[in-house]
């Protein structure tokens, strides 16, 4: 709904180049525009940011391009896995692209990102290229980890992307360590440590939050809540599914994780907060269309109607 309104509002900047056979003109305008997020932010012990997000037509188009590329990459990975060209574990991110793209739009490459094993799209967002990604998935030397890591171990040091971790939750203390180094060096940058709703129940997260709050580290803990921890639904694993409140004394924000503009706004807000005041928790309400990994059909613990329902309603 928002997207349709958007397309009507984009003015034709100039005639399209003849090479591009588009049905309608594609704008690269950088004129600012303000769009209201579809859902308001919910917050915990902090005032939420405004629902009005500033962007430009050119930025919106890069969002579309990047998210489409990520979607196509994940679907291609699915086919490659079924063809046995990708082996072992392969965790796909389709449905969650807005988190990767919105976050990247709000920060710089000097900020750090660390995530778990659903890392292919974050790698792309951080400037990774498709060839390195697919080469890694297929165990080739040209891969981003020279074929030695695999799907769960994508890293890009020059873009401050710290992976790519297979053990649930273990990346969060690492992320707080990255934030510690940023504070130690007085860098005025922040670290986004991503984890899932399943990992949210790990003790080490609370340990890391406690230390981050005590030492006022610029850590931003981002829960990508896709409502399933592997094969177990959120309500069966978590007594309190309000992950943005789990920080207790640490502020939190709940965000529509399938609205790239909301994600952008929340991440911008979180970075400013973290650099000035210490840790903050972001909960991205999102969904994954695939199962937990390629070994999981994703249909034994949820219905096909639910999956197609999300596709229709949440327009991503």
């Amino acid at each position: 709904m928002a997207a349709a309104a958007l397309l009507r509002r984009i003015p034709a900047a100039r005639a399209p180049p003849t090479a591009l056979m588009a049905a309608r003109t594609i704008s690269d305008s950088t004129a600012p525009l303000t769009i209201e997020t579809s859902v308001p932010f919910t917050s915990h012990i902090v005032d939420p940011p405004s629902r009005d997000v500033t962007t430009t037509p050119a930025e919106l188009l890069t969002f579309f391009r990047d998210m489409s590329l990520m979607r196509r990459m994940e679907i291609a990975a699915d086919s490659l896995y079924k063809a046995k060209l990708i082996r072992g574990f392969c965790h796909l991110y389709d449905g969650q692209e807005a988190v990767a793209v919105g976050m990247e739009a709000a920060i710089t490459r000097s900020d750090s990102i660390i995530t778990a094993y659903r890392d292919h799209c974050i790698y792309l967002a951080r400037g990774g290229d498709l060839v390195s990604a697919f080469a890694e998935l297929m165990g080739r030397q040209a891969g981003c980890s020279r074929g030695k890591g695999g799907s769960m171990h994508f890293y890009k040091k020059d873009a401050n992307f710290y992976g790519g971790h297979g053990i649930v939750g273990a990346q969060v203390p690492l992320g707080c360590g990255l934030a510690f180094a940023q504070k130690y060096r007085k860098e005025e940058t922040a670290t986004f440590a991503l984890y899932g709703d399943g990992a949210a129940n790990q003790g080490q997260l609370f340990e890391a939050l406690n230390i981050s709050a005590l030492w006022k580290l610029p850590s931003i803990l981002v829960c990508e809540n896709n409502h399933y921890g592997m094969g177990t639904a959120e309500w069966r694993a978590a007594k309190s599914p309000a992950y943005y409140k789990r920080g207790d004394y640490v502020p939190g924000l709940k965000v529509d994780g399938m609205d790239v503009l909301a994600v952008k706004q929340a991440c911008k807000f979180a970075k400013e907060h973290a650099v000035a005041n210490g840790p903050i928790v972001l909960e991205m309400d999102t969904y994954r269309y695939h199962g937990h990994s390629m070994s999981d059909p994703g249909s034994t613990y949820r219905t096909r109607d639910e999956i197609s329902g999300v596709r229709q309603v949440r327009i991503l």
Binding site: C144, A170, L178, I211
Partner: protein, 399 residues
Amino acid sequence: MPMATASSSLHGTAAALHGVGAAASSKPRSAAPVARSVRVAAAARGSGSARARGGMVARAAVAANAVAAAESKSGGHELLLFEALREALIEEMKADPTVCVFGEDVGHYGGSYKVTKGLAEMFGDLRVLDTPIAENSFTGMGVGAAMKGLRPIVEGMNMGFLLLAYNQISNNCGMLHYTSGGQFKIPIVIRGPGGVGRQLGAEHSQRLESYFQSIPGLQMVACSTPYNAKGLMKAAIRSENPVVLFEHVLLYNLKEKIPDEEYICCLEEAEMVRPGEHVTILTYSRMRYHVMQAAKTLVNKGYDPEVIDIRSLKPFDLHTIGNSIKKTHRVLIVEECMRTGGIGASLRSSIIDNFWDYLDAPIMCLSSQDVPTPYAAPLEDATVVQPAQIVAAVEQICQ
């Protein structure tokens, strides 16, 4: 054996040991290229030693100090092992602003074994960090900080507590360099006291070197004297690899005179404690002292044991060990690890693989019993290798 007498007797023997050790090790060695630890050539104080590999220069410098202490004005200074560790920390933290210390009670309290006493006042709360009791996360944070270019030293108040951080140590600390295709280095030092103490109970008497030894990507060393404690600590901090430095609860008050000038010990080198001809005794950490006590008895009985403190638990210094075996043809390993899956088990296996043809007798390995360490003193003593057992083992091997 009360440690008070041990500390004073060590002082006497240490100088002699080092003097003897230096003489034995002054033979030129074509050692395999050693990894990235920086070598600080000790300023030659009239010792006239050639610029050989760093470790040897260091030993030569020590020999010069120990033997010529009376002649030289600054003939070294005497300190306890925990002070030697502390000196190493202070020197490295002064030289490199990225070095920082994480641990429980390391800051304001000064460290539960006083290794970090005074450091928080000297370097501030951002470099000497009192962590909450959360080993899993603060070890992980140390690894994360190392990924971003700092050089953290993570202290386990007792090494046993680091079992809570096993995942971080194995998967992140040990493996990230590999899984990232070489992009990240983890120049972290993980250190702390372990081993069997005085009736500390089973959970506080663990030997984590046996648990960590299989972790790929991790380097392990064990210190046993003030001299090698300082040298190994400095080398570990400078190393680009993750290093676990095993200290021992009962060795912190050992006293020794160490050089005034800067030195480091090579992480991958073993230490020749007492050269001999009849049998090679390989040991490390606290068992070194049980071995040396047994050596006195053995010498009186006419035996000439060669004692090597292996120091480098991973990788083994097979060069030094091999040269010894080629000379004596008999090996006794004396360790504090439990029998099953200990350092001795791996060392035995390595020796069989590499030096089988040089052995005239089966390799003997004396280890602790495969039991939780009891609280009652006589029981505790019975689970750990005692000097009398070492004497009996040598007599058996040398038959």
